[in-house]
């Protein structure tokens, strides 16, 4: 195998593939990137046995096809530090040779036979979705996943498709984010899958060209996302996603409409005087407006009064973790948000347009 690559393009591709490769692993082959040269194209593969990424690098000249394993960390470092416009990667019996104008590296790799098979994308997709839409759906939900949680299957994001309607749901047990979108369906049977958070983070980086269309296929406990250049496949999270539809309250009779930036600013300021033991911000809604107050013992207290655009229902006081509110407001893509509430100890529902819904459990304030 021998290829001449454009260095800057290779750096970019290696960084993407490197995102999945773990450096400390009991199976050393997994710390390698698999480099495959076929006629006219160079493909990089990386996997941690859960998630696999396959990426075709542009701007290469294949002199001799073949494949090899190169320890990823070293390869990335060498390619990044090199000063040449192009680099030559060549396979010898046991090692990879990387040659620049004034440099020559030899790195010992591993036997290509030991590398686990990377799932191949073939056949028709179940549905297709624009990269832009996929991006939006993931960004609007992924923040609500549980970072460390053994409960249920909530350290992943639920992707549901019915006909050409896509819903993406994430929760950590305290709040739940639901984003809706459209896709181009090729399959009439409704589908659902829980995609691990790590894969989705990679996905956000991998398909960053809004113009692209991503083909998606769910099969045998795996989900694959593919474009012409890149394929990401991941094992699905096994288990049941909590019955999310049941926890979305529909009886909120206190409805507020407020400008997004006004609410963000007010919550951020109120959050200044909270601490670990008193995180909650008290929010009092009435016809006159919204009063936020917070108090941290031995630190002080804050009161912020803001205007609201519209309020329907009786006065209510409710406590929320400001971080939870800000997380959702950060991804809110409209200038106004709507919040529906029922009671002090009942969840609030935050909406922006028909496409984003966020359920947030209150904090008991005394």
């Amino acid at each position: 195998m021998k290829v001449i690559c454009d260095r800057s393009a290779l750096v970019e591709s290696l960084n993407l593939v490197g995102g999945v490769i773990v450096s400390r692993t009991p199976k050393p082959v997994l710390s390698c990137v698999k480099v495959t040269a076929t006629d006219g194209a160079l493909t990089l593969c990386g996997t941690d046995m859960e998630v696999a990424v396959k990426l075709t690098t542009p701007r290469v000249e294949v002199a001799e096809s073949g494949d090899m394993l190169i320890p990823s960390e070293k390869l990335i470092a060498i390619v990044r530090e090199s000063i040449d416009a192009t680099l030559t990667i060549e396979a010898t019996d046991e090692a990879a040779k990387i040659t620049g104008q004034d440099s020559k590296f030899t790195i010992y790799g591993y036997n290509i036979e030991d590398y686990p098979p990377i799932p191949e994308y073939d056949g028709d997709p179940d549905f297709e979705v624009s990269a832009e839409e996929l991006h939006r759906l993931i960004a609007m939900t992924i923040f609500a996943t549980a970072r460390e949680n053994s409960r249920y299957a909530i350290n992943g994001v639920l992707v549901e498709r019915d006909k050409n309607k896509l819903s993406v749901v994430a929760t950590d047990g305290h709040r739940l984010a639901l984003a809706k979108g459209m896709c181009n369906s090729h399959n009439d049977t409704p589908q659902s899958a829980i995609v691990p958070t790590k894969a989705l983070n990679l996905l956000l980086r991998l398909f960053d060209d809004a113009e692209q269309t991503v083909a998606v296929k769910i099969k045998d406990g795996q989900i694959m996302f593919a474009t012409e250049e890149a394929t990401l496949s991941t094992n699905l999270v096994e288990g049941n996603f909590p019955p999310y539809a049941d926890v979305i309250p529909k009886d909120g009779d206190k409805k507020v409409t407020i400008a997004t930036d006004v609410l963000v600013s007010a919550v951020r300021r109120a959050a200044l005087l909270t601490n670990e033991e008193s995180k909650g911000v008290r929010m009092a809604f009435d016809q006159a407006g919204l009063t936020l107050s917070s108090r941290a013992p031995e630190m002080g207290e804050a009161v912020i009064k803001t205007e609201i655009d519209e309020y329907v229902g009786e006065d209510i006081e409710i406590g929320f973790n400001p971080q939870y509110l800000l997380d959702a407001l950060k991804v809110a893509d409209e200038s106004q948000v709507h919040i529906d509430m029922k009671a002090t100890n009942k969840p609030g529902v935050l909406r922006t347009g028909p496409q984003f819904l966020y359920v947030i459990m209150p904090v008991n304030l005394q």
Partner: protein, 668 residues
């Protein structure tokens, strides 16, 4: 079977079974008699743990010759005349059973030379009793007072004799009794001899604190804190005095916890609990503090006539005294620095100790010499330095550079006597200390996280202005310095303690109960499910009010299943999982460690759970901390009282004093 009236001997022997359990009881009864007889010196001689001989000699009032026989008959006493005295007993004995009981189970010889109305009898009289046989009294020579010889205890009750333990064991009981009595009667001298070996020698006319120290051990004198408390007249007028040992000297037995009420050493679980309560969180739960508590209360508030050996009493207002004792000791502990000292190996090696003591006079001389030169040091220099600092502080605060000039005038104005060089010195001081202070403040700003700490620092002496050096060791310990030396801090223990204080302040209220409020709790979108048997469910139902205060909301949702609906938000952010936490809580409740059966149990339970919470939420040993976090932790350490021990009672910090370091490096 015929019903008969029991012979006197048998009655006495039965009574003896209650009063005289073992040699120590004989000692107790006789020593108390001696004290009631106003003795000022009591000598106790024991042979073979009292199996062979118990001799108690006092210099008290004695027993008149014609009363000797009466003294050994049952229910004969000089201490109680009418029933109304029973309600307010002020002597140690009153039942009139002791001598009768003792003499019925041993060979007893009473030698007494009485003093009546200031007149001492010419000679002593001796009465020998052996079981039921009374030998007529005969005269003898003797010092004023009474000597009671008890030989062959239980010679006529073989069953009892068989149950006597090893002489050494019996003696340790005697020693304990003597200690307890001597604790109260600090004005009386005690000498205790066992098999011709002098065990205790307490001089008469000691003060209370001298006596406590002599008894508890001179080596821990520095570890004893004195406390007093006087109740107001209208609140019952109880008086409290005592000495409380530092947490670090707490023992594994309660032998070193002395409770004295109205001049009587007693055992009382309620009061022992009160003392332990005062030390809550300062000592591990399996330890008992070293302490002596003396309570004087109106005699009608306490009933001592509930137990034959009078070891137990009954209070009219147990709760009041519980609170009194707990608060007095707790206050005393709060007022002192409880940080234990780190011990270097080979500390206080005796080889070095001896010469140091010999050198006392020499050291004093050296000290005087040093002091002389201290006094002689040019006053202006010190004064100037002080002024500079003040000027800089004001300057820093008011941003008014003018002040410095003013100060310069000040100095020069007052430096009349000094030479030219003397004038130069303070000027250079101005520059150097100013730059020092300036840079220190800068560094302080970067090092110390909270602005409140900064504020605190600038107002303190210049020494503290330097940035505090903080070092984390093995990701487990934090090392820093204070005025007295090196501080070694267990990061987990300290953080746990701080959390515990914060949480307790919130849940129990800091000053008054009104500002107490439940922990902030985060409601769950989907309840967490916990398996719980019927019994556990009942238990949880019972604990419900407690759990609400702790921010936990639980509802049964089916057979064997409960749902956690809300959980403290800070535990979530500290990654404490609800289900395992509740499991542990239930297990503790099943063991009875957490219960709400009465208010005091409820408070205990609150402490217990808050303790669990802080332990789980605190930084663990092995957690890496950033400099900011370290500074923050140390800053919080200053904010809270009682940070010297973690809630489990283990110390959070150790101090290695400069003095010890100097000693170890041979620099002293």
């Amino acid at each position: 079977m015929q019903i008969r009236k029991l012979p006197t001997l048998l009655i006495n022997q039965i009574a003896a079974g209650e009063v005289i359990e073992r040699p120590a009881s004989v000692v107790k009864e006789c020593v108390e008699n001696a004290i009631d007889a106003q003795a000022t010196q009591i000598d106790i001689v024991i042979e073979q743990g009292g199996h062979q001989l118990i001799r108690i000699a006092d210099n008290g009032l004695g027993i008149a010759e014609d009363e000797l026989e009466l003294a050994v008959s049952p229910h004969a006493t000089s201490k109680l005349q009418s029933p109304d005295q029973l309600a307010a007993i002020d002597t140690l004995g009153f039942r009139g059973e002791a001598l009768a009981s003792i003499s019925s189970v041993s060979r007893t010889k009473i030698t007494s030379r009485p003093t009546r109305d200031g007149k001492t009898a010419e000679s002593a009289a001796v009465l020998e009793v052996e079981g039921s046989r009374l030998n007529p009294a005969y005269p003898a020579a003797c010092a004023p007072g009474t000597i009671i010889d008890v030989r062959d205890l239980f010679f006529n009750t073989p069953a009892r004799r068989k149950f006597l333990r090893q002489p050494s064991t019996e003696f340790s009981h005697i020693n304990e009794i003597v200690t307890r009595i001597a604790m109260i009667h600090h004005e009386v001298g005690f000498r205790l001899t066992h098999n011709d070996r002098k065990v205790t020698d307490l001089p008469p006319k000691q003060t209370r604190s001298q006596r406590v120290i002599s008894l508890v051990g001179k080596d821990i004198r520095d570890a004893l804190l004195e406390f007093t408390y006087e109740d107001l007249e209208e609140r019952g007028g109880a008086k409290l005095w005592g000495m409380a040992g530092l947490p670090e000297i707490a023992r594994s037995t309660n032998k070193f916890l002395y409770l004295c009420i109205n001049g009587r050493v007693i055992k009382d679980r309620n009061l022992i609990h009160a003392v332990r309560e005062a030390y809550r969180g300062l000592i591990p739960p399996d330890r008992t503090p070293v302490a002596a508590v003396f309570i004087e209360m109106p005699a009608e508030d306490v009933d001592v006539n509930v137990h034959p050996t009078k070891a137990e009493v009954r209070f009219r207002k147990p709760k009041q005294y519980f609170g009194l004792v707990r608060n007095a000791i707790r206050q005393c502990l709060l007022d002192h620095d409880l940080m234990p000292t780190a011990k270097l190996t080979g500390d206080e090696a005796p080889v070095f100790k001896a010469p140091v003591q010999e050198k006392v006079s020499q050291t004093e001389a050296t000290q005087a010499f040093v002091n002389y030169f201290k006094d002689m040091a040019p006053k202006q220099k010190g004064f100037a330095y002080q002024e500079v600092r003040r000027a800089i502080e004001t300057e820093a605060a008011a941003q008014a550079p003018l002040l410095k000039d003013q100060y310069m005038q000040d100095v020069t104005g007052k430096e009349v006597i000094d030479t030219e060089t003397g004038e130069v010195l303070p000027t250079s001081d101005v520059i150097s200390s100013e730059s020092e202070t300036g840079s220190a403040t800068d560094m302080g700003a970067t090092d110390v996280a909270t602005p409140s700490v900064m504020g605190g620092l600038t107002s303190e002496p210049a020494m503290n202005l330097r940035p505090v050096k903080i070092l984390q060791i093995h990701n487990s310990y934090v090392v820093t310095e204070d005025e007295q030396g090196i501080l070694i801090i267990d990061q987990h223990a300290l953080h746990e303690r701080i959390m515990f204080e914060k949480l307790t302040a919130r849940v129990l209220g800091s000053a008054n109960k009104e500002d107490a409020k439940p922990l902030e709790s985060q409601r769950l979108l989907m309840p967490e499910i916990l398996d719980a048997s019927e019994r556990e469910q009942d238990l949880l139902e019972e604990l419900k009010p407690l759990l609400v205060r702790l921010g936990i909301e639980i509802e049964p949702i089916g057979p064997q299943v409960v749902a956690i609906q809300a959980f403290p938000s800070f535990l979530y952010s500290r990654k404490v999982e609800a289900v395992p936490f509740m499991r542990e809580l239930i297990d503790k409740a099943l063991d009875g460690a957490i219960s709400v059966s009465d208010p005091s149990a409820e408070e205990n339970a609150l402490h217990e759970v808050l303790d669990m919470m802080s332990c789980k939420a605190a930084i663990k040993a092995g957690d890496n901390m950033t400099e900011d976090q370290l500074a923050e932790l140390l800053a919080q350490r200053e904010q809270f009282e009682r940070t010297s021990n973690c809630p489990h009672g283990r110390p959070t910090s150790l101090r290695l004093s400069l003095k010890d370091l100097e000693k170890q490096f041979g620099r002293s």
